[in-house]
Amino acid sequence: MRNRTTMLAGTLVSALAALAACGTGGGSHDDSTGQPAQPLSAASAPLPVETSPPAVYVAKVKNILVGLPPTDEEVKAVEADPSKLATLIGQWQQLPQYQTKMIRFFELAFQQTQIADVDFTDQTFPQRVSINKQTTPLLVQNAIESFARTVSALVSQGHSLTEAMTTRSFMMTPALMEFYAYLDAWQVDDAGKVTDRMRALYPNAKVTITGTDIPIADSLDPTNANFLTFTNPNLATLDAAYPGCFTDPIVYKGGGLANTVQRVLQGSLDGRPNPNGGTNCPPIAGQLAGPLTADDFATWKMVTTRAPKAGEPITPFYGLDKLRAGTELVLRVPRVGFFSTPAFFANWQTNTSNQMRVTMNQALIVGLGAAVDGTDTTQPTSTPGLDATHANSPACVSCHQTLDPTRSIFASQMSWNYHNQTEAAFSAQPGLFSFQGVTKPVASLDEFGATLASHPLFAQAWVQKLCYYANSRKCDSADPEVQRIVTAFAAAHFDWNALVRDLLSSPITTSAKATKTLADQGEVIAVSRRDHLCAALNARLGFADICDLDPTTVQKGKSIGTISEIVSGLPSDGYGRGSVAPVLPNAPSLFFRAGAENICGAIADLVVDPKNPVAGQKQWSSAAPGAAAADFVQIVMALTPSDKRSAPSIAALQSHFDAAVKTGAAPTDALKSTFVVACLAPSAVSIGL
């Protein structure tokens, strides 16, 4: 919505824009001469800097933070005193939806997303992490969420965002703890050679599956006679389906002990040679409940990881009772900050040629918002790990003289499969951090995290990440307002929630006042990308996960029909390898329009005269279309009653209902159609209106 002062100019521009489109049948030629027409001076002049009123920017900020529509009181408070926006933001930060939104932001910003179970295969080489179709998605989702939940917990406790670089504590579920501990028991070196530490501990152990009832505590107790003998009540059924393959008992003697046990814990049985000859018995994936229960994938707690003391064993991954009760993991593989989580490694897999360069470059992009691109003039004091081939190539050396010593930090600690580095050539060669003005020897991942946390680019990097999220574009780093925010963030000891308040109440986000960013780049109005759209639908209509983005969500109100398929093609925040800026499709397309229409139609079935009402979920009756229309405008379209657009919008929706009924539509269908209109309204599917 525009201010009155800009209306006249806007009308002129609008009229001239229409002229350009149609005045001469296409607007590109002068009919009299046949020559290309010169642009009209008024139309080609830069648009005036136009600010936004509180009705627009309060809705924008609240939507970004919690997905909810503004209230009249909130808008009026900011109209009376614009500084009240920061106060309101502080209140919104106390809502549960804020945690939800921030967790998703951190998942993306720390690059823990865009992964599937197959992406963990480097770490579990050569087997896949799990073959259970029911539990595998839950484990992957646990891995994706873990670090975001960690940061959310840290900042909500008042910790500095810099601790995201250095923390050795992570939010985990028991299932994820089991996975971390399993990865420590399954060592893979640079050449892909596996050392099964569980097998080393129990050289003669075998895994037995039987129909006999064995308490799981006995199965997992190394001192018990039934250690590694697991109960499976379905053996008889399976054996009937695959004769001879599942005859009680099944005994797994060879192969990787840790891997076999890990799969059993996840509820799967590996395939094995058929005792009767012929083709191998099939693996059984997803038919069995495993020792890990649904609660094990949904119970979160902060878990501290540490290296073993001399002679101390690592945490056994099969000790489920202790994992459920404990808050500590003893691991050989160092786990520090965002850059050593299984999800980050799954995202940025290295290999024998790459040798940690991609992992390091992405860590720099996440932590500092900058990549090794050959433009950095920082001169390393030495070049440990500099690749000889690249060192002799002028085209390559500018990047590699920085990247190779820095990636040696990872290479000295970890194998190419992200286990302990056992190759002396690498483990004996500590790295040198040399990037964007900072050069220092770094001997561990802890030191690397601390180096990121103290780097001068840290504050600016995280202001920019929030800018992209809130404003769908980069903020101009030369803008004095941006510089003020960066300085304030550092001065506040990198208090994340304070930064959110500062940036989202700033004219950089609100366009309430002219800024350099606004003057130079104009205002960006964007489609409500997938995460924003789904969060708004959940928050406004009372769904748990209408888009089915989280497989661990078990509440009612999950996606129906094809919504989950549609949202996989909606514009979404993404990041590409080597790219500092996220990929943000902002423009509406026919696919966005068509997808949104189908999503809104599916939701209409749930909220209008629902056959099976769900507690907490919004619902409207076709017997009261007037009230429903008013609600649609306020809740779905996020227009407060005092907004100039509200009354005519309500009238339009009411007219739509009446017209639909007149065509013979049932009142329920007419109101569903009315809901779809509201759901497709510009302010419902966009950010910045």
Binding site: V358, I525, N598, S673, L689
Partner: protein, 436 residues
Amino acid sequence: MLTRRQALRGALLGAGYIGLRSLATGLPAALLLDPRKALADVPACGVAAGKAQFVIFATSGNGDAINANVPGTYEDSKIYHPKDPLMAATALSLGGQKTTAAMPWSKLPQSVLDRTTFWHLMTNTPVHPKEPDVLSLMGTTSAGEMLPSILAKHLAPCLGTIQSQPISLGASSPSEGLTFGGQALPIIPALALKATLTNPAGPLTNLQPLRDQTLNQLYGIYKNEANAAQKQYIDSLVTSQSQVRNIKQELLNQLTQITDNSISSQIKAAVALIQMKVTPVIAIHIPFSGDNHRDIALANETAETVSGVQAIADLMALLASTGLTDQVSLMSLNVFGRTLNASNIDGRSHNPNHQVSFTIGKPFKAGIIGGVAPVAGDYGALPIDSKSGKGSPSGDVKTTDTLASYGRTMLAAMGVPQAAASYEISSGSVIASALA
């Protein structure tokens, strides 16, 4: 020159008071005049008559090993190929030109081989993140536009497609996504496309026209209070609504066979989009080995070469069965190729010096463009003689220009005039011998 007075008069009073209607409804005037025409960003078809084709553009940021097993790589015995019998060196003919390739390529129908051209190019990067740069022909395109988008922009008005932007169905990561005019485009997997475009039958769909009317009212209400940026954005919402309604609903049943996001489904979706005239260019991803650093005995390269060529065969068969063989061209371009020397037994590394593209379609003369020779301990593309298309150390197209020349030749194949092509791509030459 159009004067301001003429302009205002024409805008507000001309053409059946379209200007006034536009102001009254808030909708773009061009949409009221001719919705379909208004949806094309380029005002008129500037491509030579009969040349415009729909394009299916295969691309991969993984740097697949297409370049390791195609015609042109079997003359040098030191180039390493998988030893699996499925990949045995096999004679084949490209438009009468005898050559050798891995067996899967020889299994393409002869009618397809007779329109197939293999291009030995240098992308000049060994870095995955440069995929967008390679699609922009490494800095040689105007405003960094990607080749698929340049093609789309020029072909859309000639083919009468609903939108000018290309569509990416197969991008496996945002790095493989496309941009158009500087805007990132969404990646729409095949299943999502099906769910997005298919209207569920029922009373809600019947009320669609009425909803569009009400939404147009709402657009007007919002525009009344909007600033210029907001107005512009609302106009794009209006446009997208009109585009949706221009989709031929009777062709949507083509999408019902899509059950996953595999290459098979991408192909079905691409052909359906062409039949519906949604877009002139559709990007897909055909795996041909992936990033196979660790690939024991090149088993994955073997498996995916077999399945990749089969996917091409399936695509060509589908085009034939839908009568589109002469209207659709297939092009490929990956971020880089892979190393070829004898050490590549259990995996291959990135090769900045050699990448092979393939083109299949009516505008192309079958054969091999360029060649491969030892470079820097491995192999790289040769310069190309622009007249003959042959690879030669004395070729007038330098290796660093082979990529841009590929782009220029693609534009020429689609009938884009030379002046426009020169504007779009600042270097390179048209390889005339590749054109039918």
